[in-house]
Symmetry: C2
Subunit: 312 residues, 2 copies
Amino acid sequence: MNGQELFSEERSAAVVAASFQGTRDERLRQVMTSLVRHVHAFVKDVELTEAEWGKAIAFLTATGQQCDGVRQEFILLSDILGVSMLVETMNHRTGGTSTESTVLGPFHMVESPPRELGANIALDGKGAPCLITGQVSGPDGEPLAGAQVDVWQANEDGFYDVQQPGIQPERNLRGLFTTDAGGGFWFRSIVPRYYPIPADGPVGELLAATGRHPYRPAHVHFIVTAAGYRPVTTHVFVAGDPYIDSDAVFGVKDSLIREFPVVDAPARAAEVGLPNPFRTVHFDVTLLREEQAPLAAQPAEVQPIPVPGALA
Amino acid sequence: MNGQELFSEERSAAVVAASFQGTRDERLRQVMTSLVRHVHAFVKDVELTEAEWGKAIAFLTATGQQCDGVRQEFILLSDILGVSMLVETMNHRTGGTSTESTVLGPFHMVESPPRELGANIALDGKGAPCLITGQVSGPDGEPLAGAQVDVWQANEDGFYDVQQPGIQPERNLRGLFTTDAGGGFWFRSIVPRYYPIPADGPVGELLAATGRHPYRPAHVHFIVTAAGYRPVTTHVFVAGDPYIDSDAVFGVKDSLIREFPVVDAPARAAEVGLPNPFRTVHFDVTLLREEQAPLAAQPAEVQPIPVPGALA
């Protein structure tokens, strides 16, 4: 037989996978073959009905049609299914020796303005004042002078500046800092607030139908880069946030949660240029060297799916 | 912990699946949980890169945006991944005792016009004349008088009438027949021709990138219904078609292939109202009774994926 085996329920995945054997790009062939195997296994696992298949087609179509220049509903879908976090994590394994990464998110659409250490990025003066400090270092603890620390966060109302076009000041709560001779950075901002991902489209409907909320726990975004080292895209999360253990996009990692304690010290407040009392957080960042080989996969967890808390 | 376990590569599927545990609709919970497990397994299996993830997002978005009132690109995607055939086959198991089903396809958009037995549905007079005959019966061989036989097919150029709006005559190559006292049907048409599925969108690009052609082997569509029996949606395929073993949508089943032999018999041609010589095909249809219970799944085939021909 020149072409494929004929289709049957039992050998469906094998027949369809075989149709991709002529793919010249070896990687594309591998990806399509694996995709077919997993999609067919899913359809068989749940014995998908024709009505459910129709709903899936309608959902995917609506998701594609929700996308435009400022809204990417398929990324949102990837986010709430934990796929974005999985891809991010697999492609930036740390082996526990450097700062863990998390999702970039959709709000790094504009360049952060370069600012002097100590600057206040809360341009509108709203929110609980907060001093943010940290040090960037390499794997042996060597301080990294001249590293770039790019930060951005949502405002007191839970919006990023790009979500409120026309509202002044522009580039509120964004800044690009350069570490000092000791690798240190510090700047003034506000304590971030939790916020919902856009929930007025098909992904929001899916969250509602499955009893899930759309909130992300409060966080400040960081991208830290230094010549000769691997960059890291990450967040620092506010300990105690009501959504810290139910992030809609699964971005929280234990190693990225920090206390934001209150400091009641008038002299220190005056020194850093904040009203007394103020909040503070310290977040050190460790980078891997560029030449370090990518790390191998962690052993995958298999059946059965534990109920919440069973791994605690 | 109130909410989810925090995310990690090793327990990603378990953490995300747990987020769906609050879904009130038990079936939706089952489907989402299985979907998450299989999607995460796929991403880990191929170690999807960030660039590949980006391409996948762009592909899905373009697929959604290709859809409109007359084009459904996600159904096309489901078709070329064999998912449509799998869902159709799983939901219409025959146990080998009745006519097998295959995909409905996107071209049954209009009602077929009722016609008398023997009518010629090739209204434009183009193509190789063909006499199509058959009998509809139940599981014990009982002939089903008054059964409805709905047929449609592509024309000599490989197009369905609905793909060529404005071209007369309307409803060319469609007919709704009623079986006679012996369950028999017969009508005149043309030998169908292979044709490509729409290949000018993202799905066509995927086919091209993977070295697959977009053709479906020649076939006539049937939907056969009878009171008290389960309807069947199927095709009869032309044996020897160049694409019979490489249908772009995997619709071909052995049991649905028929010879379309040439008949060279002037008296018979005159009797049926066709020029001599003419082609002919005989396709009997057996229906299950409505009350027969759905059949269980066939045992699934597992690893490894055989190379083409290995099962021959």
